[in-house]
């Protein structure tokens, strides 16, 4: 079975080395900017910034676009919706019940570029940050909410455990599928219902083993006196370096530019 897990693309770049919290902040600003601007100049500016960021990651751009593949249907659907159902004055085409207006087309372009940039931009984060670092950053961000009862550490822990077990489960699926195929099971042919039925011999053992693993892991953690976040220290302490401050400056300039764009255009 050939499944690449997560999206992390190892490379040695400025962006890869950044503190994950800084990158998380950067992506948040980027998304906020996408929803702030609505002029084409604004989109163009964001696109250029995004292009520079992608260049800095040293990740082949094709990897950034891969995330779009899964969403191609949503993109088409959104643009169709906008083209056909936006009311406007400048009618371009009109026949039967369909009316296409200039506003509709502009809206569609706006929405599609927004969505595309949203996905491509966020993939900059996931492609350059290992899942473990990402969960660390998320735990840090959730930290202040601990006071109001948000189990920040537990959430982060659950995420890392889930990520850790994805490859294990994939291996397990491969093994169980082979074992059932050896008994004549057929996972490939047949209609939808037959295919769904053929999954039972795969899913039941898979769930049983997942629960067993979860149970074993819980026992192992308890046996080592694991108890959530009380007085835990980190093996890799996150510390802001020079390059992180540089990145923060860039983000500040970017935000200022977005605000100016919003006001004057």
């Amino acid at each position: 079975m050939n499944v690449t897990i997560g999206q992390y693309y190892p490379a040695d770049s400025f962006v890869h080395q950044l503190d994950p919290r800084v990158k998380l902040l950067g992506v948040t600003l980027f998304i906020a900017a996408l929803f702030t601007v609505n002029s084409f100049a604004g989109y163009a500016f964001i696109a250029v910034c995004m292009g520079l960021a992608i260049y800095a990651t040293k990740v082949p751009p094709i990897f950034m676009l891969r995330g779009l593949r899964a969403l191609i249907f949503i993109l088409i659907f959104t643009s169709a919706l906008n083209i056909f159902f936006t009311a406007g004055n400048t009618v371009l085409v009109s026949f039967w019940v369909i009316t296409i207006t200039l506003e509709g087309i502009l809206n569609a372009i706006r929405m599609v570029s927004r969505l595309t940039m949203l996905i491509v931009g966020s993939s900059v984060l996931t492609l350059t940050t290992t899942p473990i670092k990402l969960t660390d950053a998320i735990e840090y961000v959730l930290g202040p909410f601990k006071r109001i009862g948000v189990p920040a550490h537990e959430i982060a822990m659950m995420m890392s455990i889930a990520l850790r077990f994805i490859p294990t489960l994939l291996e397990e699926i491969d093994r169980i599928m082979k074992a059932q195929m050896a008994r004549g099971a057929d996972f490939d042919t047949g209609g939808l219902i037959k295919k769904a039925k053929s999954l039972v011999p795969l899913l039941v053992p898979l769930f049983i083993s997942a629960f067993r693993r979860a149970d074993e892991l819980a026992v192992a953690m308890e046996a080592r006196c694991y108890r959530g976040d009380i007085n835990r220290t980190k093996m890799k302490v996150m510390r802001l370096e020079r390059r992180d401050f540089k990145a923060l400056w860039v983000m500040l300039v970017f935000s200022a530019a977005i605000v100016l764009l919003k006001i004057y255009i």
Binding site: Q180, G184, A185
Partner: protein
């Protein structure tokens, strides 16, 4: 000589071919297995045993070389794949982890059902398979998850047997069982071979288990078959086995050591019973001499 049931020719197989982390798991493997033979396939962990047996029923496709079943290439005709998988029954490592039905009997029936057999035939086969592995019909009505570890394993083996394979391949059937469960399973397998005469390939990393059962042993190391002979001959090469992370059965080692120290035992002893008998005989002869 028996006619050749399964023949593996110059087989090479690589996992993740082309990726930076590709791994050559089988390297030019040649093997011939005669009909009705009971063969042991032995190798240390990671030597390629499981990879090799998945080639036997076309779950994996060789990179080069071929696998012949009754003289025909198993990959020659895709529509015959199911037929190949019926003829070569493969019991995976820890097969009890694939049980999924509500009752043992239903689970055992899964294979025959996939073959599209009539209901009466399926029922008959389930009964037969359960009997073969030593489970009672009452156990057949239980949930597989209520059985003991050894019973679960036997239920899973029955699930493959019910397809009436001509070649039965068992991957570490005794792994992880207590000594009693271990002996039970292995004895059942031996009995099965005697009663039905099917070809059996028993995979293990324990010589001890295999020694008492098989007629021939193939040793695999680093994806290559390095020995292929009768057990006595394989065990006589104890130092080589040790280098591969394996060891000859303790009884064989004991006999070899005693020989070195002057006991006159015949070569090629490897079961506890034979060694005990031979040593007892030697001692009684010696005693007689000493008294003179």
């Amino acid at each position: 000589m028996l006619h050749t049931k399964l023949e593996i020719n110059n087989l090479v197989f690589t996992y993740n071919k082309g990726a930076s982390f590709e791994k050559k798991a089988l390297d030019n493997v040649n093997l011939k297995i005669g009909a009705g033979e009971f063969m042991g396939l032995i190798g240390c962990t990671g030597s390629g045993k499981s990879t090799l047996i998945q080639q036997f029923n076309a779950l994996l496709k060789p990179e080069s070389g071929n696998v012949l079943l009754d003289g025909t290439d198993i990959h020659a005709d895709k529509s015959r794949l199911k037929e190949v998988r019926r003829k070569v029954g493969l019991v995976f490592q820890y097969p009890e982890q694939q049980l999924f039905e509500e009752t043992v009997a239903k689970d055992v029936a899964f294979g025959p059902k996939n073959l599209g057999l009539p209901a009466e035939e399926i029922e008959e086969r389930v009964k037969w398979a359960l009997d073969m592995v030593g489970l009672t019909p009452e156990m057949g009505e239980q949930s597989p998850f209520d059985l003991s570890g050894g019973q679960k394993r036997r239920a899973a083996i029955a699930g493959v047997l019910a397809m009436k394979p001509e070649v039965l391949v068992l991957d570490e059937p005794a792994a992880g069982l207590d000594p009693v469960g271990r002996d039970e399973i292995l004895m059942k397998i031996r009995e099965m071979h005697k009663r039905t005469g099917i070809t059996i390939i028993l995979v293990s990393h324990s010589m001890e288990d295999v020694a008492r059962l098989v007629e021939r042993i193939a040793v695999i190391n680093g994806g290559r078959i390095v020995m292929d002979d009768i057990p006595a001959a394989v065990f006589s090469r104890a130092p080589e086995l040790e280098q591969m992370g394996l060891s000859a059965p303790q009884a064989a080692l004991l006999a070899q050591e005693l020989q070195k120290r002057g006991f006159r035992l015949r070569d090629g002893l490897y079961t506890v019973e034979d060694v005990v008998a031979a040593v007892a005989q030697e001692l009684s002869v010696n005693k007689g001499l000493n008294h003179k």
